[in-house]
Amino acid sequence: MSKVIVYCEHTGGTVRRASLEAIGAATSAGAEVVAILWGEGAAGAAASAAGAAKAICLTGDAAFSADAVATAVTEVIQSEGAKGFLAAATYRGKDLCPRVAAHLDVSPFADCIEFIGAGESFQVKRPWLAGKALATLGTTGGVLCATTRLNVFEPVDGPGPSECAEHAVSAPAKATVTSTEAKADAKLDVNEASVVVSGGRGLQEAANFKLVEDLAAAFGNAAVGASRAVVDLDWRPHGEQVGQTGKTVAPQLYVAVGISGAIQHLAGMRTSGVIVAINKDAEAPIFKVADYGIVGDAFEIVPALTEAVKAVKAQS
């Protein structure tokens, strides 16, 4: 069976779920997975790379350099004779994958949602125009380099590798991360959360996003999202923007509050598992993609919904 290298990000001593999903994508396509990890704590986190047959920890400078790490990953791909390189479509994965692809002189594929075996190679399915269309693409390059869309693939339910080999990052760093200012709180990223509660201009002013934040907190595993309109008004940071010039998300549950549903926004969230829309305009386009809608005043509905979700969570 062909071998696939999966770049695994880790935090707090375990591999991130997004990376576990990438391992799942590779194993479900029949590949043998070698997990590759960088940074402090890599050796300890490697054991949590469920589904990987083997792990390789990159050692070297304490500071991260995407170019030096990409070179080291390429060396591992070549020495392992791997046929594929996958990473989760996170910031780091999307940054590394094209660099590795260029070293291997192949064309990379971002945000893949399906891998289809086609003889010796694979076809990949991925969004175009932020998901307004889905393209199935044949790949003829030697090594398939791709990132996997978050919340699409299932992690492997099984053990991780029992040991971690080492590979030194030896290329001189061209660009180096000199400091990282961690997020103020451990907020989930919109494209990683299993529940996203997004707000739009219907909330009338920035302070009213408290309603959305409270509802997200009630769900517990939720991130706050925003429409482009409110990001452009500086009510919310761009990192929360869902849509064609923001992030594309596919959570199990997406709740849109006071968002009318412009085509650019719909493109970014229409593959969510279940969509709930709350809007005062019964004709708003958001209701065309919603599974469940409530028409009415968000200022009355959202607090009631928050209390009801809290009550459900308290029981479970």
Binding site: A66, V106, T136, T176, L253, Q264, D291, G296
Partner: protein
């Protein structure tokens, strides 16, 4: 400073996707085009970098159709000094590698100090060409930049990652891909628009690079199953909770 801003002409974000009859592409007959959202930020950053340096030249570089010079003139109206168009009427069919290699071939003749690009082109959404170009050139690259200082042949960039804000230091020449928040792109004034008409725009043939990926099929995402309005106002909340728990089983 010799500054390059790479831009791509893409369908406007209002565009509606409709697969072609053969299912191998998108029907472009009703597309309106624009410079990709993030590439406008790249052009602005190029112009601001020149202004901060007090001298230099901004070249707008694109790989695109002969019909796309209108959008390129807009970039010149906003402060670009000249443009190079690698003419390819089939530009959207190129894969990331073939686009990157054509740009690399051109950039190799330009001795740029810094190359700005958008973080992603809003058509194929690959976010690959910037880091690929840098890797082929052997240059540093910082992606999704929201803050940047360049001085004395060095740069310091701020990047918003999943973990927080990273500070990245690098030497020039470098490729920088631009994220929303880095700057506010200016609008072109009448004077700029008039001046742009006289600025040099060179049309060249891009290096031929074969694609490594072919389109098997382009389809619309599966239609979502018909939803329903569960009710009006706060009174509808119990019905919604019931649906989320028992029907959708997501709560």
């Amino acid at each position: 400073m010799n500054i390059v801003a790479c831009v791509k002409r893409v369908p406007s974000t209002e565009a509606v996707a409709k697969p072609t009859a053969d299912g191998k592409g998108l029907d472009a007959s009703e597309f309106q085009y624009m410079i990709s959202f993030y590439d406008k930020i790249a052009v602005e950053q190029a112009v601001q970098t020149k202004e901060a340096a007090g001298s230099g030249e901004v070249t707008v570089l694109t790989l695109g159709p002969a019909a796309g010079t209108k959008e390129i003139r807009e970039c010149l109206a906003k402060g670009g000094d000249k443009a190079v168009v690698l003419t390819d009427d089939d530009w959207q069919s190129r894969d990331a590698r073939s686009t990157a290699k054509a740009l690399v071939a051109q950039l190799s003749t330009m001795s740029a100090d810094v190359v700005f690009m958008g973080r992603v082109a809003t058509d194929r959404d690959n976010a690959a060409v910037g880091p690929m170009v840098a890797t082929y050139l052997g240059w540093p690259c910082v992606t999704d930049v929201i803050g940047l200082e360049i001085a004395d042949g060095k740069g310091c960039a701020k990047v918003e990652t999943d973990a927080g804000i990273e500070t990245v230091e690098f030497q020039l020449p470098a490729v920088i891909t631009c994220q929303k928040g880095l700057n506010e792109p200016r609008t072109a004034g009448l004077k700029g628009i008039m001046a742009a008409k006289k600025k040099p725009l060179e049309e060249l043939s891009p290096e031929a690079v074969e694609n490594q990926s072919d389109v098997v099929e382009v389809a619309l995402p599966a239609a979502r199953k018909e939803g329903r309005i569960v009710g009006e106002g706060a009174d509808a909340v119990p019905a919604l909770i019931d649906a989320l728990q028992n029907e959708a089983q997501v709560l």
